[in-house]
Symmetry: C2
Subunit: 544 residues, 2 copies
Amino acid sequence: MNSDYVRVFDTTLRDGEQSPGATMTSAEKLDVARAIARLGVDVIETGFPAASPDDWRAVNTIARQVGDAPVAGRPNPTPAIICGLARAHERDLERAWTAVEPAAHPRIHTFIATSPIHREHKLRMSKAEIVEHIRKMVGFARSRCEDIEFSCEDAGRTELDYLAECVAAAIEAGATTVNIPDTVGYTTPEEFGARIAYLKANVPRIDDVIISVHCHNDLGLATANTLAGLRAGARQAEVTINGIGERAGNTALEEVVMALHTRAPSYGLRTGVDTTQISRVSRIVSSVTGMNVQPNKAVVGANAFAHEAGIHQDGMLKHHATYEIMRPETVGAGASQLVLGKHSGRHAFQVRLEELGYPCDRDELDRAFARFKALADKKKHLTDADLEAVITSEIYQAEPLYTLDGMQVACGSMGLPTATVRLKCPDGATRVEAAVGTGPVDALFKAIDGVVRTKCVLLEYLVHGVTQGIDALGEVTVRIKGDAPTRRVHAHGAARRPVFHGHGADTDIIVASAKAYIAALNRLLQSQERVQPGAAEAGKEHTA
Amino acid sequence: MNSDYVRVFDTTLRDGEQSPGATMTSAEKLDVARAIARLGVDVIETGFPAASPDDWRAVNTIARQVGDAPVAGRPNPTPAIICGLARAHERDLERAWTAVEPAAHPRIHTFIATSPIHREHKLRMSKAEIVEHIRKMVGFARSRCEDIEFSCEDAGRTELDYLAECVAAAIEAGATTVNIPDTVGYTTPEEFGARIAYLKANVPRIDDVIISVHCHNDLGLATANTLAGLRAGARQAEVTINGIGERAGNTALEEVVMALHTRAPSYGLRTGVDTTQISRVSRIVSSVTGMNVQPNKAVVGANAFAHEAGIHQDGMLKHHATYEIMRPETVGAGASQLVLGKHSGRHAFQVRLEELGYPCDRDELDRAFARFKALADKKKHLTDADLEAVITSEIYQAEPLYTLDGMQVACGSMGLPTATVRLKCPDGATRVEAAVGTGPVDALFKAIDGVVRTKCVLLEYLVHGVTQGIDALGEVTVRIKGDAPTRRVHAHGAARRPVFHGHGADTDIIVASAKAYIAALNRLLQSQERVQPGAAEAGKEHTA
């Protein structure tokens, strides 16, 4: 690879998934990993295998199924590097290694905090102890895996000379990539660029490794800091789709890639990303995680190219470059076309799904096609967005414990909103409940609660009419919080609060609401099952 | 004012309002202007008075009612400068002047494009012609108003030496602020900072005026570019709340203000903004414009401080600064408290609204209190967010032509979704219609269409459960597009496509949907009335 090549390290599945409520199932993670691999990224950080047996399995499945051979549609000739995160402990490193080992190009990513505030309050370790620990643990990781990335957590607030010492120790011990995260989104572009330049100038053998940058967006500066780091010599950018991630999120992949692309003569750097897939992958991630994208989001927001739709029309009519620095086609944001209708066959449907980047197996295709036909009966013209909604609703879902068998609702300004639901239960029985609520959704959820009988709090309820036209297919996202904590361990050591989302699509938003709520409840119930002692034992065999 | 003071110029009402569908009524603009004035900004760009008689009236009303005296709760002792935008034509300048004249501190902001692509394709003017035009028009504006801001449109892509020539001409002709916009969001922070430094070094008398920066976020760099401009010597930042604006939007006020605040020792600059009001104003603007804020938005997103809610808990328990660079209280994002219930009186309600920053007149209070009581009957505990939803739904609405008198809906997976509505019409009559649809909202909108009988296309339909809990008050935003273009002129010369939004809140989301759709239709119908010849004539009197 030439010195102008920037490795794109996508951490949507790890740091992105740490957004509250963005938890994905293993099946969803596999789908997202495939989409990200197709996009052409160099490294996919797939999770934190020591967090739970389920996390280990998700990473391992991706290593086997996405990391073993080039994914269809991927611009790069080699499979992406599959990376697993591990705290700097032998057990975590071992778990990460067994998870990623089946990939053609496995990587272990390990880290320890280096800033004064983390040393003093969190780790209670001295500077020298931390350097020694880095040597030992990076060395241990390298004894398992050829490709080791080491991060100085909170590098943005670490003393420059001590940061250089830590990075040097990691390189000596065998790290092949050293990552400089601005963990709390604190630095300015000038400061962050200067940090990378300092390391370039002061760390022995720094030119033998790749410097990586990982920025957070708390002050809205993540993209600028990432670009400043690249200008100063970093050659890997850690990013997420739509900029999702902890708090205000991570650096957005689409912004860094399009800045390097649009301003190529200024930066003189390039990536391996196929920009025309950006819009599609953005939409998949937004659907699967339930993290919506605001209309004024750079590159992937609904209005990002909206001068086409009435703004600055005069200039645009005379010359598009008057108000446009990139074409919508470049990021795959072309107008959605009418593609299929009531009389379209199964094959045409499958072909179109593959063109859209959703390869299905036979069973998935059966389910999606049945939903497509039911929808085509109600809606005359089906757009790509409709098809995507069908797919994300039917396929990217947890395996159900409870399924909706039928429902009816009566409401309005003059009566008492009343809902009746019939659910198929895990024991095979069908149960019916009715309830009155403050509105149709409240009544509906109460009726479902009457059947499911688990405790949860509704955190968010969001409806999108995804497609134009008054007969639009409605998408609903529900986010709930369970009562009991799960035992999944967070990368930074704390137990994770159980927030779950569910997603449903239907021309009737009340029906879509029921599907979404049941999907969220299923996810909650499955996670409670997962932390049963039996499940934890089942996971342990992989550490051997 | 000291040299470390950065003037905050808020253009939410002008550039922000240019977002597709974010059109506001005059009453809404007045409410937003009040909220922005309370926040402590220095300059409020209130609109483009020559666009239509209605725009003129909105600016003029704000000049009279917000620009005449300090607004209650405003940290600064003087009223904000009230600014109106004008193309560099005598008629536009005259209209802008008559609109802002009643303010204690009026400003006219005028502009012309200076970049090669705009000169050649849009203006078809030579460099010399443009300089001559700047001299003449800035001079004319200055003959009316003491405070003149001049912008070189697309300054980010203008030749440096020619940019300096244009800025020098504007200063000679009497401009008091010169604005350097990166109109298309093209520059990098290094380039943008270098532009400001070049002007500082090369333009005669540049130190006698304020340099202003105005950035767009197409590559995600607006905040970094703005800060780079300030570091290089600019002392006015043009921003919008939530970063709304054309395409990917403008620089977000909250990001620039919080970067300068959080990194004060690094920047050595300060603003007059009361940061604790940021969350509230963000919410008002999001409600009024229907432009939702994504959860991972810096500073004002729902997850911006979400380490508090389960992420990085271990570190946070040991010391909040491990993962937090600003406290949620600093931006007024404290936890929503239970405040009022069924037995709360009218006075307590009014006091709480004032504390929340929503002063109401008697009539508004009557309407809001009636809604509050109806809601308190359904929902036990009312949070601040509930109250804000009531206020934004009842008060920040267009004056109605049609109002909802009653409705009922039946739907579900087993039947034909059917809606019945009863509307009060502008002629005083009450009409009832029923319709069947693909879902309850489709049926409902068809029934409403049966009464209202105007043509429109549904562009977006969005539901938020704004408050926690399953009996949440639902907020619905609807965006529609009419068939005929309105005659309102865009600042850059093109006719504007009519996109209108409506907003409704109710515990029943189907009822909220009806309210939102009717509100959007009312807006559409009013705009069609506004462009009748009579209305245009009525506007003309103000130009004299």
